[in-house]
Symmetry: C2
Subunit: 314 residues, 2 copies
Amino acid sequence: MGKQRPKILDCTIRDGGLVNNWDFTEDFVRNVYHSLNEAGVEYMEVGYKNSPELVDTNGAGPWRFCDDDLLKQVITEKKTTKLSALVDIGRVKEEDILPKSDSVIDLIRVACYLKDIDKGIALAQVFHELGYETSINIMAVSNALEYQLVEGLEKVNNSTIDIAYIVDSFGSLYNQDIQYLIDIFKKALPNKKLGIHTHNNLQLAFSNTLLGKNNGVTFLDSSLMGMGRAAGNCPTELLVGALKNPDYNLAPVLGLLEKEMIPLREKVEWGYTIPYAITGLLNEHPRSAMALRKSDDKDKYKDFYNQFMTVERH
Amino acid sequence: MGKQRPKILDCTIRDGGLVNNWDFTEDFVRNVYHSLNEAGVEYMEVGYKNSPELVDTNGAGPWRFCDDDLLKQVITEKKTTKLSALVDIGRVKEEDILPKSDSVIDLIRVACYLKDIDKGIALAQVFHELGYETSINIMAVSNALEYQLVEGLEKVNNSTIDIAYIVDSFGSLYNQDIQYLIDIFKKALPNKKLGIHTHNNLQLAFSNTLLGKNNGVTFLDSSLMGMGRAAGNCPTELLVGALKNPDYNLAPVLGLLEKEMIPLREKVEWGYTIPYAITGLLNEHPRSAMALRKSDDKDKYKDFYNQFMTVERH
């Protein structure tokens, strides 16, 4: 694994889509692409590439499926910024993925839990054969037993996958936890590039991402104003502003935030709130906090916390 | 300097007062005291103890002055949580400070710039003679030349001051910067306890505070929901939830947030916004961003940023 300059992967449309059911207009996605390109951001994730037959579509916008014809219509001219899409194992039909030569997508990322790592690797290798860059994003590593994680990573190391991601699914990992995982990933994956995807439940998303960058992790996930599920992600604007890369330019990102993200933030909620801090502190999936934030009890923090404390949590 | 358990100092009323001109009711301050006490928080800063004759009072609430009679009326019964107050050099008359035996205040903190360190030390030593615990909080260290900082710290080390604070006034310091400063402070101040006061411009306040804690810094400043000037501070709720101290109890803090802080946050703004991120990234005082947030241009990020980029900044 040679020393590589870090790259930013903005996943606003994909992870942010979990907030607004992928209800982004084509113009919105086009503006994001152009601005990220001007800003020098290396990758933009345009959505999930799950197959409509295999998920509950339930009014979801098109960026949950990333039909190739739609993508070509929106990104009419590929510039420097590459495109990525995420798939969940079990939610994509392999025959729905075109050969890379017929697609505007460059990188396909496969998300799976550690128990499904064999399926995840097999699927990613299919995409590799089709000509794509590939990554595997192992979710919920904070709940994995270490020997199982190491076994899984060693299989990844022997695969054709390009990148292995450290994913803090619950936003529950502290700096020292990320450092610990980086050391495990580096040791088990000498042949691979590493990536990091963080959540902001404990206001540690940016700090954890920088920690990755300072330790040789080269793929840094982020989103505009941190837009992503629940407490959201590492903010793209902070990475573009902080990383010492002469090709980065903050002004186009700031223009995009004021034009597109501020009006959107008035309609839908994401980012640090107390219920997400609570699930992060407790290393719990944020789904209960997401339900709370949509209810009339959205600011009943004490009762919400006490539910975890008084009910058996095993 | 023996190994000490870290202590939380909640400065909501003092630093948060910079947001609402210290317009907290007596009941609010009383509720904060009782809840922090239930939560096991070691110190509560009840305000500034500047002298009304020496500052522009301009409608400021009483917590800018912390009259001793008022404090006794509000904190009728001292419990475990100790009280602190901050003074600025040049803004307090020594004769306005009672002997400790006649006051409910335990700790007086002196804020000064490095160029005024001699005055700061002299003033803190007066309060030491009166019987108080004392600290010195050197502001804007990110703009100090290192040899001058070391000279100043060595004077502090030879004083009667108890605690020296690392203060990230502009919220511009990254984890590695804080680590660097901790090493300087530790080396120059073998006789003193250390404290840390952070701002959240880069969403690093909690991370930087934990970094301090993990490196032997024992006084950790925070505020409820991070309420403080501009981007605010390290959130008290995250420290109480994250630190492994069996005496801490998160539920009273959460109750306080939902009862007092949510209604307040609807009236006044603090916390991470893009203009504060910009001044943090540029290591600038947040005053220009604070002015922007009060204007009709509050979300004109690109123009705000370009002003710094196109005007000579020296």
